[in-house]
């Protein structure tokens, strides 16, 4: 059942609540994709899958397939958006490397992150052992007051500091401009416009010829419209074209998508 994905309860540093609310906030640009720990979402989903279903009548494998399909599409789109935000230039940098070099670079970064995770674990354990150590924060109740004195300063230092703040950041290469993903709002408007003209349209046909990133964003826009109750979605079979129609009754439960 597809709602297994959208109702997925998340407890992340930057967000707490169901997965579909997270998506909505990102679509409305009220939440930075860069702030979201995607690995934690994957862990939550896998834990959800491994929980036995309370209803025995429905076959579990079928439920898993539906949920997995939707989840993979959404998480891949999220990952792509986040990666482009975090590393606007590096995508290009890595693409220029030979596969061996790129693998070496990625391995170096993964190993570095792994070491830092270990260090964090050490810090956590250390902190646990230090919980019995209480010390005073701040001055003693009856301590004499400290006075800080500052030597004479050159006012030119102030001018220099402000000039430093007025230096524009290093020029960003223009190559990533081509990689920028279009705003979701653009597709929201586009689909709404199409639906004002026609009662039903074919999603795959509408996004044909767009880049993969654009198609992913278009699909997120489609989900947003459906969530808002503006459209109904239908798909005859897995990998069949998705038909989008103006609200009314919605029967769609299949979420497998070819285009994203």
């Amino acid at each position: 059942m597809a709602s297994a994905v959208r109702d997925l309860e998340l407890d992340l540093d930057a967000f707490e609540g169901p997965f579909d609310l997270l998506l909505t906030l990102i679509l409305k640009e009220q939440l930075e994709p860069a702030e979201i720990d995607i690995a934690a979402i994957v862990v939550a989903f896998v834990q959800r899958l491994s929980r036995p279903t309370p209803l025995g009548r429905e076959g579990r494998e079928e439920i898993d397939l539906d949920a997995c399909g939707e989840f993979l599409v959404l998480i891949a789109a999220l990952l792509e958006i986040k990666a482009r935000q975090l590393f606007p230039e590096e995508g290009a940098e890595l693409a220029e490397l030979e596969p061996e070099e790129a693998a070496e670079e990625l391995a170096r970064r993964l190993a570095e992150y792994r070491r830092m995770k270990e260090a964090a674990t050490w810090l956590r354990e250390r902190l646990q052992g230090e919980l019995e150590r209480y010390f005073r924060l701040g001055p003693a109740p009856l301590a004499p007051r400290a006075e800080r004195r500052l030597a004479a300063q050159d006012p030119q230092g102030l001018a220099t500091a402000l000039r430093g703040l007025a230096v524009p950041p290093p020029k960003v290469s223009l190559s990533h401009m081509a990689l920028r993903f279009p705003p979701v709002a653009q597709f929201l408007e586009r689909f709404r416009a199409v639906l004002r003209r026609r009662r039903v349209f074919d999603f795959d046909g509408e996004v044909a010829g767009l880049s993969r990133v654009e198609q992913a964003v278009a699909f997120l826009a489609l989900l947003e419209l459906r969530k808002a109750g503006e459209v109904a979605l239908a798909q005859a079979a897995p990998f069949a074209p998705i038909r989008v129609s103006r609200d009314e009754q919605e029967r769609m439960t299949q979420w497998t998508v070819r285009s994203a």
């Binding site: 109740p141 301590a143 004499p144 006012p155 102030l158 001018a159 703040l165 524009p168 950041p169």
Partner: protein, 205 residues
Amino acid sequence: MDRPLRLISTDAIVGTPIDALARTIEALLVVASQPLSVEELSAAAGDDAERVETALGLLRERYAEGRSGIVLERVSGGYAFRAAREAAEACGRLFERPVERGLSQAALETLAIVAYMGPVSRPEIARIRGVAADSTVASLVERGLVAEAGRESAPGGAVRYRVTPLFERVFGLDTLAELPRLDDLGGEREAIRERLLAVAEARAS
């Protein structure tokens, strides 16, 4: 010499309840940043007020002036440790900070923004620097280089800050009009402000 802790370190007495309570009170007082009342001590130690008073009596003897470098003082609001009078000179030297030669980059940038663009609020300083300004502003206020100067005009507006006469003295300025000119940044306050905000926005994007 007087050994303030002799009583509790003597084997025969270690572990008697009143001494254990006295040790707990020592611990509470050395951590506290304000005087602690008998009620607070009693609640924290989980013991009754009368026994806390007894233990405090023991401690007042042990930490009496002339017996230890630590003196237990009764002040309004309760009990607190202070330094012995014989150590007053040493404590004075400890709290007398050496004259600082310069300011940190964070302090200098913040001070420059307040001097050239003040009165200015912390959110605005943070926008220009691209970094939260709270602790830096607080430390400049504590040092007397920056002071509050009313609030932004909107209801519930943020507190604004200006530089102080001490700032002018330290920087050798009779008035703020003597600040070095920044013609290369647009010269006038509004122009400089817009320029800095534009750069900050570019940096954040």
